[in-house]
């Protein structure tokens, strides 16, 4: 009963989706533009590309099994790495004025460099393939985590830090018990931004020297003038992004429960 209700409520929250879909379908059918195929055409193409496989493969095609898991693997590897490195570096930056003085210009510099322009650099450092792609993803998405973590760590409530100091908490305890939790909401904002960016960077990293992945398929469809295919890839990215984000929010709700209730307005 509770589960049914929950399901219905979840479905209720999605009401805007069918509305948008129908509007999109109508608009594209009226426009009759080959660049803007209607959603049904896109869906058919997506089905053909990825979901028309045999039952024992969960109806996934070879194309799907070839491209989607590889891409997802790259995204996760890149995102996790970026999360760990970004949080660590960000907290160092936030807590150490010295350190931030030295590396801040480098960080601001790196941040402003278009990741595609850095592909040659990563290509030089890493073997082509997963390593280089993950490096590109990490480089491209680390900034929101880094900046937000730095910000969060810099702006911990003064009295919290003084309490920690007064009770002689060790550096490690201060970090894990005080600084990290209070920067956590901001770090999560960064992580959430980065998750979507990871999808984008995955596409970019697959544009050069790659032989598989969703980004590669997108590029392939683009140069074959397969517009439904292009849109199909875009929709796939959107759906993946939505699912990843939903999973992320669920995790966040658990981890930041104190934050939500502590700050809820009555």
């Amino acid at each position: 009963m509770g589960a049914v209700m929950r399901f219905l409520r979840a479905a209720g929250r999605l009401w805007l989706v069918p509305v948008v879909l129908v509007a999109w379908e109508v608009a594209t059918r009226m426009a009759e533009d080959i660049f803007f195929p209607p959603p049904t055409t896109i869906a058919a193409r997506m089905h053909e590309l990825w979901f028309s496989g045999p039952a024992q493969q969960l109806w996934l095609t070879e194309g799907a099994l070839d491209n989607i898991p590889t891409s997802l693997g790259r995204i996760f590897a890149g995102w996790l790495l970026a999360g760990v490195i970004g949080t660590a570096l960000g907290i160092m930056l936030g807590r150490s004025e010295r350190f931030s003085q030295f590396v801040d210009p480098l960080i601001q510099f790196g941040r402003a460099i278009p990741p595609p322009a850095l592909l040659p650099f990563f290509l030089a450092l890493f073997a082509v393939g997963a390593q280089m792609q993950i490096a590109t993803i990490v480089f491209g998405i680390i900034w929101p985590i880094l900046l937000n973590a730095g910000d969060g760590a810099r702006h911990v409530d003064r009295l919290h830090l003084e309490t920690a100091a007064a009770f002689g908490l060790s550096r490690g305890q201060r970090l894990t018990r005080v600084i990290l939790p209070s920067a956590m909401p901001k770090i999560f904002a960064g992580l959430r931004l980065s998750l979507s960016l990871a999808l984008i960077l995955m596409v970019i990293s697959e544009l050069v020297g790659s032989t598989n992945g969703i980004g590669f398929q997108l590029l392939d469809a683009q140069r074959s003038y397969d517009y439904p295919g292009v849109w199909g890839s875009i929709v796939l990215l959107g759906v993946l992004g939505y699912l990843l984000n939903a999973a992320f929010l669920a995790a966040e709700r658990r981890i930041l429960s104190w934050h939500r209730t502590a700050n809820q307005t009555t």
Binding site: P120, L123, D220
Partner: protein
């Protein structure tokens, strides 16, 4: 499809020839292929026809075609393989001028110094760098492979921009690279790479490479403008075809190729007329290699024929 025709066409008083549109923005790649466009502009051939032409650098054919349809470009340089692919996908495009045609050694397959690969037949199972998959590069390399008893599936094509290919060869990321000028000359000089094969021989000898494309709508709405443009560009093609010095002079003005390099690179030829049978070769080879699902007549991409 959107917007292209909405741009208000300005008809100035100076418009003697009754041109429908006197100001044209054309996209061009910063490579030798588009030299005639710049020559025509510099020597005032367009002006003589009452046209004001703005040439804007673009990076690749596909995006430029989108700009064409979106209306930010009126015409653009394109390669023929892209054009046929686009047309087969339902885009209504017309080639109004031919720009560039391959000559021997203008598009070569290069291997690093001391490579174990001595003949194209050794490429089986190897990795080859091309600037874009499903395009002239793969088409030309595949025809070389076929001539040597290999198929397209016997090798792996990887995409890299031309400037990065030297590095990839050096690092061993790829075993061979399909390159064109000025990178061909540079790669030989810098890393001592050697030529494995000329890809513009046999079925691809004198292969048509690039032309000027507009939308079909543009040709039907602006026939006089198109004709004026063609006349002006033909003059420039004539010069480019007959006077290498003219090309060498113009190259450094719109690319970052210096005069010294311009003097030594191998250049293709600049055809002076638009020839249906030559273009048909491209479509036929594409059909043969499976780039096209069904035959396309080159006539359909020439002005006049409604496709």
């Amino acid at each position: 499809a959107c917007g292209g025709s909405d741009t208000p066409t300005e008809t100035t008083a100076a418009n003697a020839g009754g041109l429908e549109k006197t100001e044209i923005t054309i996209g061009a790649l910063p490579i030798p292929d588009s030299a005639a466009l710049y020559i025509a502009n510099k020597r005032g051939f367009f002006k003589e026809e009452g046209l004001t032409v703005t040439i804007e650098p673009v990076q690749g054919g596909a995006q430029a075609q989108q700009s064409l349809l979106g209306g930010s470009l009126d015409a653009t340089q394109t390669n023929y393989v892209s054009t046929f692919l686009a047309v087969s996908a339902g885009n209504k495009l017309k080639i109004i001028s031919d720009l560039y045609q391959a000559t021997p050694n203008s598009f070569n397959l290069m291997v690093p110094k001391d490579s174990g690969i001595k003949t194209p037949a050794d490429l089986k199972g190897k990795k080859i760098a091309v600037n874009s998959k499903k395009n002239i590069g793969t088409l030309a390399v595949t025809s070389v492979l076929k001539a040597n008893g290999l198929a397209e599936t016997d090798v792996e094509f990887l995409e890299f921009p031309f400037p990065e290919m030297a590095g990839k060869l050096q690092q061993g990321v790829v075993d061979a690279a399909w390159m064109t000028e000025p990178h061909l000359t540079a790669v030989q000089k810098n890393i001592g790479a050697t030529k494995l094969a000329d890809t513009m021989t046999g079925p691809t000898a004198d292969f048509p490479i690039a032309g000027v494309v507009v939308t079909e709508e543009f040709t039907t709405k602006n026939p006089k403008t198109v004709a004026a443009f063609q006349r002006a560009l033909a003059k420039a093609q004539e010069i480019a075809a007959s006077d290498r010095k003219a090309v060498e002079e113009i190259l450094p003005t719109y690319t970052k190729i210096d005069a010294a390099t311009a003097a030594v690179i191998t250049m293709g030829t600049f055809p002076t007329s638009l020839d249906e049978t030559r273009l048909q070769r491209v479509a036929d080879l594409m059909l043969e290699q499976g780039y096209l699902k069904s035959a396309i007549s080159a006539k359909t991409i020439l002005p006049g024929a409604s496709g």
